[in-house]
Amino acid sequence: MSDPNPDQRTADEVSVEAQQLLPQLVAHLREHRATLRDAWVGRIRDAHLLEAMTPQEMAAETTSVYDNYVEVLETGSVEALQHYARDLSERIIPRGVETHEVVGIVLLLRDVLARSLFEKYQGDVALLNHVLDAYEPAANRIANTVAVSFVDERERVIRQQQDAIRELSTPVLPVRERLLILPIIGVLDSERAKQLTVQLLGGIRTHRAKVVVIDITGAPDVDQTVANHLVQTVDASRLMGASVIITGLSPTIAQTLVTIGVDLSKMNTIGDLQGGLEEAERLLGYHVSRKEVTDGS
């Protein structure tokens, strides 16, 4: 029974017909693999995408993307493609390939393949309709998968870099045996304050520190949460047997702390880093003196 009006078919019928057409479609794409791939590469070059890649890399990558693409059309399994897209992103992200380029090339491939299908089936509009029913959802799914994998990978890289920056932003520096300095530069939010505490307590343990000087000359502002966190850090350090000296409280921060009523009675604060170091040396029993240079003339 034939039904010339596609609008009256049910979704099930469409999907069954699409299933039957897929092998035919895949066979067509495999047969014209070389031509279509070259057409695609030409389009990519015209659009000035992936210019970071050499022609050899481009040929290798486009071939494998093409094969993966056709395979996903055939099997409907996006898992392999997801895996491939992740690998690909891992390789090309460090080379500075942008999201729009990746999405762009996948959409170009989709376009090139669709045009070739149009050409093949243009004599029979009803059949062309069925072919597109089969092709479009699969192609959309592929474009979606590749874009999502790429963005995921980029976010993973960004997260990794953020972790690295965070770790580097609160250095714990041993200056003398049992004496650590912790300079804080930049805005201290509660996330960073927490990071600071973890690093400091770890540092006390590793370096067997007895005195820690926290210098906040470089911190522009301190709010109540952060101030309380500092107080807790001081207490926790004490539990590990180290005493903390805070230096470099700017006039503004000092006024803020008093105004918001943070209990600073347990904090040992000294004006500047130099004074803090001198106090720390006193606590540790160091005596630093300058060697007198006797000048003969």
Binding site: L201, I204, R208, Q232, A236, L239, M240
Partner: protein
């Protein structure tokens, strides 16, 4: 009052008692530890007590209070107490929960604790820590 084998080894080194807590203690065991320790302070005429809690992953409020009581009782019995070996995350958790052990001397590890007690005996406070 106490029964069964002791869960905390209390060793005597001169006039210093060293108590190592090896496993997490429940409340009853904590009380038992307190009683044993206080009794031995008198028995051995100890002048210093070191409690090593390095093996503990968690110090709850009861344990923290007991440690503070031990320090207070020991002081009344003539011994100075140092708590040593509090782990970094345990320290931060205790402070976050408001159990800062104020007034109790703390040190990094056994060695530091012994040095601190030696400093007290020599008449100078060696460690900057402590309340």
């Amino acid at each position: 009052m106490s029964s069964g084998p002791a869960l905390v080894s209390i060793l005597r080194q001169g006039d210093i008692l060293v108590a190592s807590v090896h496993t997490a203690l429940d409340d009853a065991e904590m009380v038992r530890f307190q009683e044993d320790l206080v009794e031995q302070i008198g028995q051995y005429r100890a002048r210093g007590v070191i409690i090593d809690v390095a093996a503990l992953d968690v110090i709850d409020s009861f344990a923290a209070n007991t440690l503070r009581s031990i320090a207070d009782i020991a002081r009344l019995r003539g011994a100075h107490t140092v708590i040593v070996g509090i782990q970094p995350d345990v320290a931060f958790a205790m402070v976050s929960l408001g159990m800062g052990l104020a007034g109790v001397t703390t040190a990094l590890d056994l060695e530091e604790g012994l040095a601190h007690l030696a400093g007290i005996r020599a008449g100078t406070r060696s460690g900057p820590s402590g309340g």
